[in-house]
Symmetry: C2
């Protein structure tokens, strides 16, 4: 990785394409590149159809001065951003490209909540879940109920995830929600889908994030502050919850994590900082278990004991996570890598994890039909 | 390539996901594989949102018995299918995968024509073209007008493309429109956008097509009837027509063709059979020029003289093309490769091009914002 860009998350003043152009230009400038040096562009904008624009690549490329550069749009629900990164990784590994731009962005706040919720439900197994009225808060609520029943996870443990991530976002000038919350705020917030309350749920956001990744020798010529994308692995899982053996774990995350650790020759104990897909607080708890940071059933207690805070055993979501930094769907997987890039280049300011050398990103599509795990390392 | 599947194109009796499952199963059976042997799946379904289903991969994979296999959805307007193929090609070239499934499908005939036209316009530069009422027939009509003005291309030349492709489709049992037309049918058909008449335009179709591609050693173990994907190249071009230097040529097609020929070590003269993106008759004429099959400005005359018919200098669109085989958007780029596969394995029945050894597919996104050129060769 040789450059990264990130617009503020929150209510954007422009369409997704404009946000993506902004983030892309920032990443290209950060990489000290001219746009024509990019061999291939990978874009994600899963809900572009709500703005009447699919085939985003040629529009963005024309605007950034790379009209002839090939592009493609990658979609994998909420894991679209990291899926795009995976394609760039494959192109560089194959030798088809030396320099790739990866950018994800979304505008969502022009939609009313019921509309946005309906569009999001398209990412589930719609025939099985969507048509029966199941939306993501409801599906994750089922996962939370089973986690509580089986492992004794409590509302206070869920709350501790929300409180930590809101706290972390106070130090992230790009975050959507920069507001400290306490246990009483959490417990007084209304239920969205029992046992999940308002403060268990991430917001919809507008925003974009971008990365420039390059083949190693090219990268070393471009930039001295480098982060290596050591491994990037994806796996699938049954689309609908009723096809799962276990509601307290996401099998695609476990499979992808195993592959990513194996090809990076590291294990969970080596991770200094992790950005995980906390679309709901329960999702962060399950993520820290699926990626082996904590044993199954221990994720809630770990959060409550401060083990996932900055300065704890492993800093989880120092950016504020989806929960507080925000969730512009297709930007999310790329924004996670942006945060790891900042952490590993020691440029994360007040939320810096001291001495971070190895980072991990965990990006889930829907309730786990897809998952990408990426492992990154500071380069010397 | 070790297997291929193709549903009938036309009015489907089921949703896009079901069509894609059907085509995928046929490709997997053709490859004598079990679904778990697939390392990665690449799906295209650009208009899935009209059926409330994005994130198609986990749903299809669960149905075909490959729930844990990673998947991703690839979109590049009408070149989505070939863009998906390119990603599979990159994964195999990188060593990340040995066996990939590529499948594109679409359901469009549940939409009324004005609705479908509006959705298609999302593939153009919507802010510039769509908001000003420009739809694809209008944009390609501008290209046709300029081609006629500059090169003397005539309505009769456009007609000869339509007549040939309708004729070819008579011998394709999977084609949407199996109806012979003559010059008077063409000339009596109403204008859609001057100078394009009804018979210059391809239909919207429902349908799906799928391919299994594998690393060479693996492929040789699986199947003895093999076709090699020798090269696959993509390029971009300015999104909107008003940003182009030349309306009579598509720059992305020229750039991609040059790259594809160069890495395959062949030239236009070596091509025995080509499937090109004839969304409108003028598009086939421009395609045969951009890919070097005929000199610029000569494509219309070549068609009128029968040089692009089966048995002519180079058979163009023996399947019937988008024009008569049909155009289920995301299936198209894959269906082109399916036809080349049939031709190069000498299994195209009555539309067989005798002794076909080298084939080419040309798949355009929108008016040329993207283009993929693939070159295939019969393997011995």
């Amino acid at each position: 990785m040789v450059g990264a860009g990130h617009t503020p998350f929150g209510r954007g003043s422009s369409d997704a394409i404009s946000l993506m152009i902004k983030a892309s230009m920032a990443a290209i400038e950060g990489a000290s590149l001219s746009p024509e040096q990019i061999d291939h562009c990978f874009y994600s904008n899963a809900f572009g159809f709500t703005e009447n624009q699919i085939h985003a690549g040629p529009v963005i490329n024309t605007a950034i001065g790379a009209a002839d550069t090939p592009s493609v749009t990658i979609e994998s629900a909420c894991s679209s951003g990291s899926a795009a990164l995976m394609e760039a990784y494959a192109h560089i590994a194959s030798g088809l490209a030396d320099v790739c731009l990866v950018c994800g962005g979304e505008r969502l706040l022009h939609l009313k909540t019921p509309e946005a919720t309906a569009y999001f439900a398209m990412g589930s197994d719609y025939a099985v879940e969507g048509t029966n009225g199941a939306t993501f808060p409801g599906l994750y609520a089922l996962m939370a109920q089973e986690h509580m029943r089986r492992y004794g996870t409590t509302s206070e443990m869920l709350a501790s995830v929300a409180i930590k991530n809101h706290q972390n976002a106070l130090n992230n000038e790009l975050a959507h929600i920069r507001k400290s919350i306490g246990m009483s705020d959490y417990l007084e917030s209304p239920y969205v889908a029992y046992p999940l309350r308002l403060y268990d749920c991430c917001p919809f956001s507008d925003g974009a994030a971008a990365l420039v990744i390059a083949e190693e020798r090219v990268a070393r010529r471009l930039n001295s502050e480098l982060v290596q994308l050591v491994s990037c692995a994806r796996a699938g899982g049954p689309a609908a919850l009723n096809q799962r053996d276990d509601l307290t774990s996401i099998s695609s995350a476990r499979v992808a994590a195993r592959q990513a650790y194996s090809s990076a020759h590291v294990g969970p104990k080596d991770i200094d900082v992790a950005e995980v897909h906390d679309c709901f607080t329960i999702a962060e708890i399950i993520a820290t278990e699926d990626t082996g940071l904590f044993p199954q059933g221990e994720g809630g207690r770990a959060a409550a004991e401060g083990l996932t805070s900055i300065g704890g055993k492993v800093a989880v979501n120092p950016s504020g996570g989806l929960k507080a930094k925000g969730h512009p769907v297709s930007a999310t997987g790329i924004a996670q890598i942006y945060e790891i890039y900042r952490q590993l280049t020691a440029s994360a300011g007040k939320r810096q994890v001291d001495g971070a050398e190895i980072g991990m990103a965990h990006n889930v599509g829907a309730t786990g039909g897809s998952c990408t795990i990426s492992i990154l390392r500071r380069m010397r």
